[in-house]
Amino acid sequence: MVPGTTFVRVCKAVLVATGVSIIGLATASAQTATPPAVAPVKLGIVTFLTGAAAGPFGIPGRNAAEIMIEMINAGKVPEPYATPGLGGAPIETKVLDENGSTANQVTEFRNLVQRDGMHAIVGYISSGNCLAVAPVAEELKALTVLFDCGTPRIFEEKSLKYVFRATPHATMDSVAAARYVVKKYPELTSYSGVNQNYAWGQDSWRDFVAAMKALTPKAKVEKELFPKLFAGEFGAEISALLTAKSPIVHSSFWNGDLESFIVQSGARGLSKESTMVYTAGESAMFRMGSKIPDGSIIGARGQHGVLAPESALNTWFRKVYEDRFGTPPLYPSYHMAQSLLGLKAAWDKAAIKAGKRPTTDEVIAAFENLEFEGPSAKIRMAIGNGHQGISDIAYGTFKYNKAEARPEIVDIVRFPAECVNPPANMTSTAWLEAGMPGAKCN
């Protein structure tokens, strides 16, 4: 016997075993166990389970999906969502990881729809993935609710029929930040920005500058800094900001970059020169606590979390979420919850109208231009041909409560949806460049 043939045999055995398990899995996934009385609605959930975006966005989103779907199936969500399931049909979920190349995401999207027979997909945090799967959803006629991605390009570049996004797009975050800044600093003469050099950072800064130009034309841009994504070390940027001495510094940082920047700029006393505007600051607020300088302006991509107004639905959502996961829900959790509730509202409405299980087209008809209550705000599917949601938004000022050793948000200002979102017939860029015509702020 030639040495090495044993290895070959082992390999063959491994390969055969893999092959057998592939076939086994394929058949297992093809057959469901005993069919329940009502055929379930199969829902694919796609969110980051691994990688840099999993901690701050992906996992809070998945947790919200887990608890919400459980509660929806049990019919335990408060009114007006107290009926079980989607139009009475229980939800059966399959959760997938969003990490990996765009090619992987498109392939897995096709697998979910064509192989696994999902009736709807709720997911996607990365704007790149949202842009890539949207045309595929159209091609496969698969009802898809994008839950967290921010780019306004989705519905502005082309008209989509099968794709919805209940979560408002990112233009609102920058416009509301600008309105809050102008309200608090009417005499502002200059401002700077430090944003990650990738689509989200570039778009956030561009929209913020455009909104500032419309609101306070006399204020000048001092420094525009674009460190690379996940740089983690901002010594040079902080030096530049310290010499610029702008009263306001805009930043759309998130995750590790946000926390590193807070720590590093705190050590060098940037807060004495400038007030920071963190448009996604809420996601780091509880972890960073007293390290965030008092007076920093904090946003949450909507009026979520601590910025949310009191409501029965919100109180309930916070309670069940905290009881299960031990931490309060972050804004991606709210984005997931409101996307699922939007789908439920549309599905229930279509089911009542049809008198039986609605078809995808009937759910789409019900979803278009729908108004429904999310845990933190009323969502109106008002733009993007009725496929893109808008909602009110709030910004506030950070204050660390030393007595109770917990972070607080004070001076909360709420902006109505029409004040910070483009009208249905305009793209966000055109609206901002025209000086935000038709914005209704009172």
Binding site: T107, Q114, A132, L229
Partner: protein, 316 residues
């Protein structure tokens, strides 16, 4: 390669093309994506045999993909065949230029330099807001000889295109590996100085190998862009290059068909791993890589070849 082999191969591909009605659509698009990385890997085999492992092959992959996207966007070219040819030419041109520098380096220096070049492209794409930065841009669906298949027909058309490309790549890579220039690879890996003494310029030979490998990577990129209808800078990122190297290790450099079979196996394993272990699918991929390196160090291709050699009584 004998005529018999070519005909046999043509038959296999015709058979695969005819299989379309039997295959579910998700599997067809999965195979298409696998073939796009198989094309890149078939080029990597050429370099691998000369002892070169580029960690930046994504440079040419992304060049091919963005060529397709931008030719559609700016030049309004929609014919799939023209787009693929453009992508191949663009990637080969980039390699012909980059090769002036790359072809002088070996081993880790070659690997790192190629990685650096691909990261430069990544950096440029990320900074270009007009091209959507990290979000990338959609690729318009292509036409095929004036026909405009849409929906399921488009998926099938791209699948057939991938079969044609794979067939052509298989023929040409096998022919090249059998040629004198191709056979030199082993000699270059073993002793470069001796090859130079034979009167052959190793630098020029490696430059040529780089260009051929880049052309194949460009074709792979074009196919990926047409298949997923979206391009983004991630295609030029080093993890993409790492993925190609992974498949090359899995497939081995012994046999050309193994590149495509390896790519398909990788894609199937990845897809199953994602479904089975959503929070830790990378662990399954890592285990597969480890097992391959431990037990089949020359890749899956070596299993096919060993069988063939055994069948011929070791006469080859």
């Amino acid at each position: 390669m004998s005529v018999r082999h070519t005909l046999l191969g043509a038959l296999v591909f015709a058979g695969l093309a005819a299989c379309v009605p039997l295959l579910p659509l998700w599997l067809i698009s999965l195979i298409t994506i696998a073939m796009s990385s198989g094309l890149v890997v078939s080029g990597l085999i050429i370099l691998w045999r000369a002892g070169l492992v580029p960690f930046g092959q994504a440079l040419f992959f992304a060049t091919g993909a963005y060529t397709v996207a931008l030719a559609g966007l700016w030049l309004k070219i929609s014919d799939a065949v023209v787009l693929v040819i453009l992508a191949i030419v663009a990637a080969a041109l980039v390699a012909a230029f980059a090769g002036l520098l790359l072809a002088r380096y070996r081993e880790i220096f070659f690997a790192m330099l190629s990685l650096a070049l691909s990261m430069i492209l990544y950096g440029l794409l990320v900074k270009s807001e007009a091209l959507g930065s990290t979000d990338g841009i959609n690729v318009a669906q292509a036409t095929f000889f004036g026909m405009k298949p849409r929906g399921a027909a488009y998926t099938i058309a791209v699948f057939w295109l991938s079969l044609v490309l794979v067939f052509l790549a298989w023929l040409s890579v096998t022919a090249y590996l059998g040629s004198v220039a191709g056979q030199m690879a082993g000699a270059i890996r073993d002793n470069e100085i001796r090859v130079e003494y034979l009167g052959i310029s190793v630098t020029r030979l490696i430059h040529l190998k780089l260009t051929i490998a880049a052309a194949l990577a460009g074709a792979g990129g074009a196919l990926a862009a047409l298949s997923i209808s979206h391009v983004d800078p991630q295609m030029a990122y080093w993890t993409t290059s790492g993925g190609f190297v992974f498949v090359t290790i899995l497939a081995g450099a012994v046999s050309v068909p193994a590149a495509f079979i390896g790519a398909l196996i990788f894609e199937v394993i990845r897809s199953i791993a994602v479904a089975v272990l959503p929070g830790g699918w990378q662990m399954i991929l890592g285990t597969v890589l480890l097992v391959t390196i431990l037990f089949v160090p020359n890749g899956l291709g070596s299993l096919i070849m060993r069988k063939r050699i055994a069948g011929q009584g070791g006469s080859k």
